[in-house]
Each structure stands twice: as C-alpha cells, then as structure tokens.
C-alpha cells in the first residue's frame, strides 16, 4: 500500500509512542525513531523518509540544529517541527533552516493529516491518505454492517475509481457527507442482488419493489453512518455527518460527481456483490 514513510525525532519515549500511535491509525508508516540529533541524521541517511517530525529539545543539539544537519545532507527533506512551545522567534528560526510546518504539542491526528496533505507534492500521497484514513473506514463498516444486517460474511476490497460517472442498473442510495472531509457515498447493487439481499433480510422470497428500495436504503444508512463514526473515532477534533438518503432505482442510471477523489468498495457475498462508491472533495 502507498504508505507515507515518516521518521520521528524526539528525546522522550512517551512523546515518540504517542505520536507513533496517532500515525498508526492512518496511512503513515513510522520507519525510524531517533532520540537525539546524531541518531536522527544517521537514521535519515539509512531510511530516507518522506517526512520527519522534529522535537525542539534534544540532548545533543536543538531541533533547529538537527534540521540544519539533515537538510545539509538532503536539501529537499520535509521537516515538521512539533514542540511544546511555539512562538514567533522559534518559527522564524525554523523557517530560516527550512522547516516546512510547525505544530504544537499535543498534536491531533487531524493536524498531522492536514499538514501532510499540504506538504505532500504528490497526488499519489493525497490519494493514499484518503484511501487509508477514510475509504477504509467505510470498507470496515460495509463488512461489519452486512454481517449485522443480513448475517452474511463478505470479502471486501477497496479500489481507486477513475471513471467519470457511475452506471447503475438496480438500486442506488446516495448519502452526502458533510464536515471533514466533505463528499458523498453511494451504496448500490444490481436488481438480482437487491432481491436476494431483501429476501435474506426479511426472511421471505416474496418481496415488493418498495421493500427492496427500503432495504437498500436502510442498509446504506446503517453502513455509511457507521463508516462516518469510524472516522470520527479517529479524528476526534472534526466531525463528519451524513445527510438523509436519496434512493434511485431503475436501469441506465448515471451518477457523476465532478472533482471528487473516489473509491469503489466491493463486498462479495453469497447474495451477490454489494458496492459503495465513496468520494471526497480534496483538501477542505
């Protein structure tokens, strides 16, 4: 997976652990942890991380000096200063040696993500952040939801979705996402799958069109609501909310969502394939 490789420089074991815990919930991979400036330079040379988080207080040099040494080796190094104190003089000194961003302890997961998005020049990284931190939260919700709602196990996957629109024959439920990040999720399935899904849910083979639409609508509400809750559990400082559903049924339905980064989540189960297409506006 397209993980963003990070090195943590901090003299406190507690601070390193807290930060590593934050990062492990997202798509960051902590490839190295350094407790002092000498170790930081050595590990940077060994691991070549994409991003460095830098503490100000180190036993053998301060964060500014350590940054100078790392950027002396790699002038392109992207370094975020994370310190207990953040004032104008520190920011000025930091900027002078090429620190890209300043965060104050304690740092929220969301601040780290936002900072990374800003620093990340590569589209691939933005997509990776959205996939690992947001799309996967919906994938887990889809798998858990199907087990709870109709009692079936499913095999799930997440893929990037690059087509300009979604084409659907069957039932699609659109639920808007507001807050952070803003976007929308669409749960959909083919007519045959809807029928099997509803039959399993209601325990009867005789199901009406209205029951089928309502079954998918209810499932979408539960699954997408749970996905948003999964995200809110990790990013506690910003809240994602879901709008009421809009349910479309018919054949040859096309749904376009211009300017979104979208992912297709698939759950293969005994009732058929159930999909969620989830899209996020990039940035805020």
């Amino acid at each position: 997976m397209e993980k963003v490789r990070v090195m943590i420089v901090d003299d406190s074991k507690i601070s390193r652990t807290i930060l590593a815990n934050h990062l492990s919930k997202t798509n960051f991979e902590v490839v190295a942890m350094a407790a002092n400036a000498a170790e930081a330079l050595k590990l940077y040379q060994e691991h070549n991380p994409e991003l460095v988080t830098m503490d100000m207080n180190l036993p053998d040099a301060d964060g500014i000096e350590c940054t100078k040494r790392i950027r002396g080796f790699d002038p392109e190094a992207k370094i975020i200063m994370i310190s207990a104190m953040k004032d104008a003089s520190l920011v000025a000194k930091g900027r002078a040696v090429g620190i890209s961003a300043f965060l104050q302890k304690p740092v929220s997961t969301n601040d780290i993500i936002d900072t990374l998005l800003l620093l990340s020049q590569q589209q691939a990284n933005k997509v990776a952040v959205l996939r690992e931190s947001y799309a996967k939260a919906f994938e887990r919700a889809l798998q858990q939801g199907l087990l709870n709602i109709i009692g079936v196990n499913s095999k799930t996957s997440v893929d990037s979705y690059d087509k300009r629109y979604l084409e659907i024959d069957g039932v699609a439920v659109i639920i808007g996402l507001t807050g952070y990040p803003v976007g929308r999720a669409i749960m959909y399935m083919s007519r045959d799958t809807v029928k099997a899904f509803t039959s399993t849910m209601l325990g009867t083979d005789e199901v009406t069109d209205e029951e089928m639409n309502e079954a998918v609508e209810e499932a979408a509400n539960i699954v997408i609501g749970r996905g948003a809750s999964n995200i809110n559990d990790v990013f506690k400082d910003k809240e994602m909310r879901i709008t009421p559903p809009g349910t479309i049924s018919g054949s040859g339905i096309k749904i376009a969502s211009p300017k979104l980064t979208t992912f297709k989540l698939t759950a293969s189960s005994q009732v058929g394939d159930i999909f969620i297409n989830v899209g996020f506006a990039e940035g805020e």
């Binding site: 629109y165 049924s249 018919g250």
Partner: protein, 155 residues
C-alpha cells in the same frame, strides 16, 4: 415541513443565477410531491446537515442542462450533457447551495452541505424523503428548473 425553510432556496436561485449570466428567474409554480421525483433528464442532489437535515434536487431536462452549461462556459456550444456540462451544473448547484446556506444563517440556522451528485437518466425515480415535499418551478427565459426541497429542522 416548515414553509420558512423554502424561501432561502428560492432567494438563492433568484440571486445567484443572474450573477452567473442567466435571465432573472421567475417563480412560476409551486406544487406538492410525495416521496418520489421523476428525473427530467439531469437531476442534481445535495444534502444538508446540522440544524437543517434533508436534500434538495435541482431537476431539469437535457435542453436546459445544455443551456445552463453553455451559459456558464461563456456561450461555448454544448451538444450533449457530457462531463464538462455535468461539471458546470455541479458547480452551479454548489453556488446555489452555498447561497442558500448563507440565507439560512440569517434565520439563525447553521447548516453544512454535501458535495453534489449529478444523476443523469430521464424518467428514473429518486426518493428523497419519506413524506410529502414541496417543489418550486423556476423559469429562466423559457428554461425550467424544478427545485424539490425535502428539508426539516433537526430537533
């Protein structure tokens, strides 16, 4: 549904559309629909959360969709509702929803808006609420856009 919540949508349409180059819209009729709307060709849906929850749909036929896209792109000829046209219509819907949100703030109602979903497919059915809801038909120089509004205060 609270009738006070309707005006912010109509006012937004009347304010925003002339700013992006359209004739001044007129409100031509209002009617009540139940549960389902029928897509005229292109229907854009946006959702609201926070103190207002619900959905709005801007529903129009292909000709009007092409007229809107063409006007927004400085008169560029548009022959079909392609990706560029869908993008223009999504952008217009964003502007309308943002202006509606501002109008709702004046009623001391804070709202957040989802991104728009542009659904294409004449005669497909879209259910946006479980009860009745109001639709306002707006006319811009012969082009009609129906605004279907299914929103409520979040208690």
């Amino acid at each position: 549904m609270d009738a006070k919540l309707i005006n912010p949508f109509i006012d937004a349409f009347i304010t925003v559309m002339p700013q992006i180059g359209f004739p001044i819209p007129k409100r031509t009729r209002a009617y009540v629909q139940s549960k389902v709307i029928t897509n005229f060709g292109v229907a854009v849906m946006l959702g609201f959360t926070k103190q207002i929850r619900g959905n709005v749909i801007y529903n129009m036929n292909d000709d009007t969709a092409k007229f809107i896209a063409s006007t927004m792109m400085m008169g560029m000829p548009i022959n079909e509702v392609d990706a560029m046209a869908q993008s223009a219509i999504a952008e217009m819907s964003n502007m309308l929803a943002a202006n509606t949100a501002t109008n709702l703030t004046a009623l001391e109602l804070e709202v957040d808006i989802s991104t728009p979903s542009v659904t294409v497919g004449k005669d497909t059915k879209i259910k946006i609420g479980s009860g009745q809801y109001l639709t306002i038909e707006m006319d811009m120089g012969g082009h009609k856009v129906d605004i279907a509004i299914a929103v409520d205060r979040d208690m």
